[in-house]
Amino acid sequence: MSDLNQQMAERYKNNFLKEIEEQAEMGEWVKMCMQCGLCSGSCPTNFHSGWDHPPQEIFMLIRAGKREEVLNAQGMYMCTSCYNCYVRCPRKVPVTHVMHGIAEYAYRIGRAPKNQPTMHLSRTFWNNATKYGRVNEVKLTQSLYFKDGLGAGIKKAMEMQTVALGLVKAGRLNPLEAIGGGHKCKDLKGIHAMLAKANELEAQRKAAKG
């Protein structure tokens, strides 16, 4: 358990709902769920494997104070950001954002499941995007393939070879991006300073709560 995690668990004890309300983005909406289950039924990945808890259950688990089960859950990472649940919720709960918020919180306190592929993508994407201000698609793809080590990466790259080749031929994937080329913003210094400040302020805000 990370220090942050320990602190939070101590502070809130049994009141996990309050913890989520204060720490997770849009967490204040959890209490407004009326348990109709439309979100779960509307989710495109609901019918695939990997779902331990669909949104309806995540909401209920939080209200039942089941901290461990929520923070260890895989369900949030099944989100494709399709916003079906969001527009259909009769209570206008922004389910998509609540799922993202809970995932972010679990990750922040070091509880996100290890090797969760979408979690990995999320981090990789943001780091890639903020490094140069714009996404470097080739490097993004590479770092995704090689997350499980060199061998697995090559295997995956081979599988995807035809896909990549097609894109290269169509002028939609530039291999040169991998070796220093690619798109970037001019004012990288400004962007990095701005993000550093934003991170600092965000950390202060979250710490002030609870």
Partner: protein, 751 residues
């Protein structure tokens, strides 16, 4: 009595003149209708046409008028001649609008029209002008039984409308359940917080109201008489009896909470920390008075966690407890949860429900509670166990699909309501029957049941209002929610179905208005709903009566008592003019001036029945005037065509159909008889509640008659019709006509 002079009027408007040979119709009216005076007119409902009829009445001495034009449901304001007997031949909706305008159809259409002219002439000759009920009472004081929210509302509303009210309350104070509430569910925007129960204000208004006379600690000892002239005896605290003359009654006797002692598995009675909703209100009131938070009864410590158990003993499928939803308890639990959250947001407040039902604006209230941090969980509670000062609530979480447990300082059970509706009349009449036979147990049961009586009516059919599902007093659920089976006595509020305060107040207002209408109609000798304004009333030729009691038992409204000689005693003011007694009477001695065995029977006989070689069958349709006949009219308005061989006669209710009509029709050579009446049973739509059911019961015996006559039993067909069956009804008629045509012609033709 003035000399009888009959007249027939044939209208040529609305294309009647071009579609039909009206000169031939006039000839029919003269020759077979034997009318003294026959006139055609181009536009009979015009001012000029109406003036013509008026002139005949005033100057030619016409006493009986057969208006052969449109349906009796149309142009009623134009054809309004209350001093003469009047019939209507339905040539428009009943003939030209349901037949194609083709050369081939012309002959059968004309035949149809001629029959309707004959029928109108025959009917009117069998009628007299109803003089109105002479045994009226003109008392305009309303009795309200029950001084809760519903009763107080009825009293105030009636007073506002200018009527005197006698309000009788069995307890020592007004206010009923509402007075026991710490606060009530909000009634206005933004529906976010409980509000004052509002009782003090209403009580003050009642006390200040000179129109309202209040009896506290009082019950109804006896209710005698009829609308407009009830004699009510009120038993007051001292043991004395007060007499009041009453015009109409609103029964607003409310409910009792379902007894939580029947739910031992939820810990009620085992620990003071399990309460029902009334118990929680008491705790909240006590706490508010002391300026303290709500405390745990076991040790007086402030409650830090509370669990609400919804549907405790309600919506029970096992048959042990209440089967129904009481309608208000979800909102009440939300309100009670707010008592805690509004005083201290840190109190853990959990509502365990299976389906949260929040009628009215309860959805906003529910959301407000969620916003305040009340936790709502879908769960079914299996047990509540007490240990020391804490309760353990075991429940199945329906979302997470697991058995789990919650700890609470206090548990509140939402137990729901049982109506204070008096004894069950069927049960009572059965007990009475057995008691008369000397059964001692039954005698005790009678005493016990009678102790629950609210109104103590002296009616032949029992001392209280009839009950319907689950012991609630019957009201016409589907079509006329205020109507009951006792004229000028209306039930209001949760005694007739589960409802909350706001609904009960609306209900009580409506009941007061209906009661005022009933008093006014009674004073004028007119019928109440659904034949409001009808001046006819049943008369009986007692010399022919065999004292079979069918009329006194079957009258859906308890209008007929028995006199000392056991003859039927009609209380005309209680009568709704449905004619069920007339349909029931085996010796046919009951009739109305304008509706009798003869008015219908003579129409049946007036129809020209062609011989068996003509291939023109005749089918009689007896159609309920409340739903089936309007549906047929509207089919006409929509130009839905149907078979030309049917002849339709409207009846007041299927219950008024005397089987002699059917036998006469079959004996007279009709090939089939179709009866159209309203739905009966649990979701009845019969305007007279039991009429169609009784009518159908009698019809079920007709099969034997048919067999006796050697006829196919399918020749008599009972069809359930709702007023909305406009498009499907013609098809059903045609299907039936096709069936009849597949049989050989009736062997009774030409006899």
């Amino acid at each position: 009595m003035a000399e009888t002079k009959t007249a027939a009027y044939i209208c040529k408007g609305c294309e009647l003149g071009t579609r039909l040979d009206t000169a031939a119709l006039a000839k029919v009216a003269t020759k077979s209708g034997k009318m003294n005076l026959v006139r055609e007119h181009d536009f009979l409902c015009s001012a000029e046409g109406v003036a013509m009829i008026r002139d005949d009445i005033d100057n030619e001495g016409v006493t009986h008028a057969a208006i052969c034009a449109c349906s009796r449901r149309a142009k009623t304001e134009a054809f309004n001649f209350p001093t003469v007997a009047m019939s209507r031949g339905n040539l428009r909706e009943g003939v030209i609008w349901i037949r194609p305008d083709t050369e081939e159809a012309r002959e059968t259409t004309q035949e149809m029209a001629e029959d309707y002219v004959r029928m109108a002439c025959a009917e009117v000759k069998a009628m007299t002008v109803p003089p109105g009920n002479q045994k009226t009472g003109s008392v305009k004081t309303l009795l309200v039984v029950g001084g809760g929210m519903s009763g107080m509302t009825s009293a105030l509303e009636a007073s506002k409308a200018g009527y005197k009210v006698v309000l009788v309350e069995k307890s020592a104070t007004l206010g009923g359940w509402a007075a026991k509430l710490h606060k009530r569910v909000p009634t206005r925007e933004p529906f976010k917080a409980p509000e004052d129960n509002g009782v003090a204000d209403m009580v003050a208004r009642i006390e200040a109201d000179a129109n309202i006379k209040v009896y506290l600690n009082a019950t109804i000892a006896k209710t005698d008489g009829a609308p407009g002239r009830f004699k009510v005896e009120i038993a007051i605290e001292s043991g004395a009896i007060a007499q009041e003359d009453i015009g109409a009654i609103v029964q607003a006797t409310g409910f009792s909470l379902y007894d939580a002692n029947k739910l031992p598995e939820f810990g009620y009675g085992k620990t003071p920390n399990v309460v029902d909703q009334a118990g929680l209100e008491a705790l909240a009131k006590e706490a508010a008075a002391a300026g303290k938070p709500i405390c745990r009864p076991s040790d007086g410590q402030p409650v830090k966690s509370v669990v609400f158990v919804q549907c405790a003993g309600q919506r029970d499928a096992s048959g042990t407890h209440l089967q129904y939803c009481s309608g208000f308890c979800c909102n009440t639990s939300i309100k009670q949860a707010m008592y805690f959250k509004d005083s201290n947001p840190d109190i853990d407040t959990v509502v365990l429900f299976t389906d949260l039902r929040t009628p009215g604006n309860g959805e906003d209230f529910y959301r407000a509670a969620q916003n305040k941090g009340v936790i709502f969980s879908k769960g079914v509670v299996s047990s509540v166990a007490a240990s020391g000062n804490a309760c353990a609530v075991k429940f199945k979480d329906l979302i997470l699909n697991e058995e789990t447990e919650a700890q609470a300082d206090l548990v509140v059970l939402a137990t729901g309501i049982v109506p204070n509706s008096g004894p069950d009349l069927d049960q009572l009449s059965e007990a009475n029957r057995q008691a008369e036979g000397g059964n001692e147990e039954a005698k005790e049961q009678v005493v016990q049941l009678m102790s629950k009586s609210v109104l103590n009516l002296t009616y032949r059919q029992g001392p209280d209002m009839p009950q319907f599902k689950h012991g609630f007093n019957d009201s016409h659920f589907i079509c006329f929610p205020y109507e009951t089976r006792r004229t000028a006595i209306y039930t209001a509020g949760p005694v007739r179905r589960p409802m909350d305060i706001l609904q009960a107040q609306e209900d009580a207002t409506g009941a007061a208005m209906k009661a005022i209408q009933a008093m006014e109609n009674a004073g004028l000798g007119k019928a109440a709903h659904p034949r409001a304004g009808d001046l006819s009333f049943p008369t009986v030729r007692l010399e022919g009566c065999t004292q079979c009691k069918r009329c006194t038992v079957e009258c859906p409204f308890g209008a007929i008592d028995e006199d000392e000689k056991r003859f039927p005693l009609f209380n005309e003011s209680r009568c709704r003019r449905c004619g069920t007694c007339m349909g029931a009477c085996p010796v046919r001695v009951i009739s109305f001036e304008n509706y009798s065995v003869n008015t219908v029977g003579s129409q049946i006989k007036a129809v020209d029945v062609p011989d068996e070689f003509s291939e023109k069958p005749r089918i009689l349709i007896l159609a309920c005037e409340n739903d089936a006949y309007p549906a047929l009219d509207m089919a006409g308005m929509n130009r839905h065509e149907y078979d030309p061989y049917v002849r339709v006669i409207p009846v007041r209710c299927l219950g008024s159909v005397n089987t002699i009509w059917i036998t006469d029709a079959l004996n007279g050579g009709y090939d089939g008889v179709m009866l159209m009446g309203c739905k009966h049973g649990e979701e009845y739509q019969c305007h007279f509640v039991k009429g169609s059911e009784l009518g159908r019961y009698r019809l079920s015996k007709v099969g034997d008659t048919l067999k006796g006559m050697n006829l196919e039993t399918e020749r008599v067909h009972d069809l359930e019709v709702a007023i909305t069956d406009i498009a499907t009804l013609p098809q059903k008629i045609n299907d039936y006509a096709a069936l009849i045509k597949s049989f050989p012609p009736s062997p009774f033709k030409g006899f």
